[in-house]
Amino acid sequence: MNPVRLTGRAALSLTRGIGAVALFTARGLFRLRPFYGRAFGAQLVQIGWLSLPVVGLTALFTGAALALQIHSGGARFQASDVVPAIVAIGMVRELGPVLGGLMVAARVASSIAAEIGTMKVTEQIDALVTLSTDPMRWLVTPRLWAAMLTVPALVAVGDIIGILGGWLVGTQSLGFNSAGYLANSRAYLESWDVVSGLLKGAAFGLIVAVCGCWFGIHSGRGAAGVGRATKSAVVAAAVAILAANFVLTGLFFE
């Protein structure tokens, strides 16, 4: 086939895909009436509360490992004492939102895609229609809003736990004074560092929920179709989070 035509087709297909996902997201976000409060509450628990252990553990070990790395790396140019500040800034600006987002993507995007995909292949989505219920409003809107609201909260908790992980390593094995470590962490942290991390969290939450819902609703038939939808949701969410992180970091700090 003609390479120009091939490129053109790929570009058109990509543009059409982006447009379709954008419309899907807009419909999911703004079709609020009727608002299904019970479904929203259940998603707050599913996406937010139940992700807390995995996000917390990830943050704890990341903060601890970061402290060790900064300490050993900083020692090369006599800068070991920057550990508290770098751990705090690194966690809050970058590692908290990105790793938190990726962990939520692994846990939540897969579960949303599998649940909605299974509902599709077992005609439960058609059943919703026959019960006068719009699947977008009942399935997608609560998940999008719940993810967008809970992931920043998870990021905030992850930031604190990550800094505590660094503090634990700093005070227990690197010889830092506890009060001094915490004071140093606070001293170099600016409010925009925190706010930008939380904004990233909201964006990553939206990405996770959109990927889960999109691939679930467009799942193929049978177990294989649901399996493919689940895999695609996780891969797409992870790549989109990393790409969005790059874009948002550029926007926020350049």
Partner: protein, 243 residues
């Protein structure tokens, strides 16, 4: 009550419905039969608004079903799906009372759900079970309870006996016949099962090559020439299943 006029639908250039004309009167029980791939499910999806027809229209009480009129139609509509299609994430009574809970307190909705479950032969102990804990026959009954929970004027039954053994299939057929007679609802059943047709239907329509090839009273179906081939196929398949 429901009239389908010249319905056409193609997928990838292949016609599935090629001018379906069909009417179902108030309180009538119509069975639509046809071999696999003849467009029975597509016809159903067109009526529900899940698939847009290429041409033709569906009228309910004399008005075309479109974006404006379909919500009112769906409010008076109940459906039993082939696999029951119960929502996995909520209990049986919450499934049955799904629509009721959107406009009344839970206690009231639950009481109605338990009453409907009793109507289909399921005791109150099933109300708090999850759908995954039900057998195939129980799930079908729970699906039936959900279909009738809001006293619909029109009920669709999609392959109601598929996957059930002959004894359970007969019970479901009897239940459906009883409910349709009791409520006076208009019933449309899509099925391969000629026992269902005999038990449930007043009228039968044969869908063949995208059109209604025969439409008439159930009592006359054995004399109908276009049905002979299908009846032979259906009984042949049943014999095969029995061996």
């Amino acid at each position: 009550m429901i009239r389908i006029e010249g319905l056409h639908k193609s997928f990838a250039g292949k016609p599935v419905l090629a001018g379906v004309d069909l009417a179902v009167g108030q309180g009538e029980s119509l069975c639509v039969i046809g071999q696999s791939g003849t467009g029975k499910s597509v016809l159903l999806k067109c009526i529900l608004g899940l698939t847009a027809p290429d041409a033709g229209q569906i009228l309910w009480q004399g008005r075309p079903l479109d974006r404006a009129t379909r919500p009112a139609f769906l409010d008076r509509f109940g459906m039993l799906f082939q696999g029951a299609a119960l929502f996995d994430s909520v209990t049986v009574w919450q499934n049955v009372a799904f629509r009721l809970r959107q406009r009344m307190p839970d206690a009231q909705a639950r009481a109605i759900a338990v009453e409907k479950l009793a109507r289909v032969g399921l005791g109150p102990e099933t109300a708090d079970l999850m759908p995954a804990e039900l057998s195939g026959g129980m799930a079908k009954r729970a699906g039936l309870a959900r279909a009738i929970a809001d006293d619909p004027a029109v009920i669709f039954f999609d392959e109601p006996t598929t996957g059930l053994d002959p004894i359970r299939a007969r019970r479901i057929n009897d239940l459906i016949r009883g409910i349709v007679t009791e409520t006076g609802a208009t019933a449309i059943t899509i099925t391969h099962d000629m026992d269902s047709v005999r038990a449930i239907g007043d009228r039968v329509a044969l869908l063949q090559e995208g059109r209604i090839a025969w439409d008439g009273p159930v009592a006359q179906m054995h004399d109908a020439v276009p049905l002979a081939a299908f009846l032979g196929h259906a009984s042949g398949r049943r014999d095969t299943n029995a061996t």
